[in-house]
Symmetry: C2
Subunit: 181 residues, 2 copies
DNA sequence: TTAAACTTTCAATAATTACTGAAACTTCTA
DNA sequence: TAGAAGTTTCAGTAATTATTGAAAGTTTAA
């Protein structure tokens, strides 16, 4: 399979972007290719398009599956695995948030909480704990937001999207109300 | 300079976390150390605490400066540079968002926009463009949100934080209102 | 069953990324 | 203006991460 120049350009940029966010360049490329391709693809097609080895495709797909980002299907009278990207772009964003949270944020929050329970051995530790507390708060807030994203209906998402900088206006109102309460 | 076990544990975890998000482990460690240390530190102290070379500290600090995450100060009658982390944890989060956006999101948005202006050469390209469009929308939404974060007052931030899952409630209301309009 | 048509695994190796330390550079002060 | 007290740079090297490809594993059909 040959990529059109447009698809190639997209795939390359996506791979580059992934690698800046700590995701293997090839894994990101495989994913980009699947997202942008309507038909399902089998491993050899992916390998040919990205000029990588068959084994590398297998590793990449395995990784993407652990992120729950790809679907596998079979076609009548054909033994090959056919791959495609999960649902719509929102589903993908949700999957990424959820996994990164599970893998990286939650364990860090646990470590931070443990450190906050430790006894400071001196003044430095005491200061450190106040900072760790702040960081903990911040991270917890982000997890709450991402939880909401997970649960949000397409309807609400669309509203949020349209609201754009309206979020601030809503907040200002909320602020005033709670101050007068 | 010796780190207390608490500080050491924090610094190590932070470094690990950074490296999973595409940030050099040592750079993340230097930053963690500065965040959690009340006093300003000079390069040799950092090198000793993290057992890394003087040159590595210099590179790391340079990187952190490009992210506008560290302050440098001088002390009367001392030629050394003294480093410390920027303001409060919110300032730091803002700096990180802003820089990552500038460096990674904005250039990607530009590429996506260019691809959307290109003429599809066939049906595949046509489909690809619909997907690229979705991704573009999604990313643009995130940039709008991060813009708001940048501009948000500490007051609003605190409200957002307290609201937690209240965001959804506010949105539901907004949805109903706009439907009745 | 066997063998064809696949997928997965993993040791060896290639590519990339990070780190060191000495030399070059800068700035201050005597 | 020399040299002391720093910082920065960067070529060489070490460590890590990614990739290949061949062998092992799996599944299906005859």
């Amino acid at each position: 399979m040959q990529m059109t120049p447009m698809i190639k350009s997209f795939v390359l940029h996506f791979g580059e972007m992934g690698s800046r966010w700590g995701i293997n360049r090839t894994v990101a490329q495989i994913y980009a290719l699947l997202v942008v391709t309507e038909d399902m693809l089998y491993a050899d097609q992916i390998a040919e398009a990205l000029t990588i080895s068959r084994g590398n495709v297998s590793m990449g797909i395995k990784e993407l599956q652990s992120w729950r980002l790809v679907k596998v299907q079979h076609i009548q009278g054909d033994r090959k695995d056919y791959y495609s990207a999960l649902g719509d772009v929102w589903d993908m964003a949700r999957a990424v948030f959820e996994e990164r949270r599970k893998r990286e944020i939650d364990p860090t929050l646990t470590v931070l909480r443990d450190l906050l329970l430790d006894n400071p051995v001196n003044e430095q530790d005491h200061y450190a704990q106040t900072r760790i507390e702040e960081i903990h708060q911040l991270m917890e807030m982000f997890t709450v937001w991402s939880d909401e994203l997970q649960r949000m209906s397409p309807d609400n998402l669309r509203t949020l999207m349209k609201m754009g900088s309206g979020v601030t206006k809503v907040l200002n109102l909320t602020n005033k109300l709670s101050k007068n309460a």
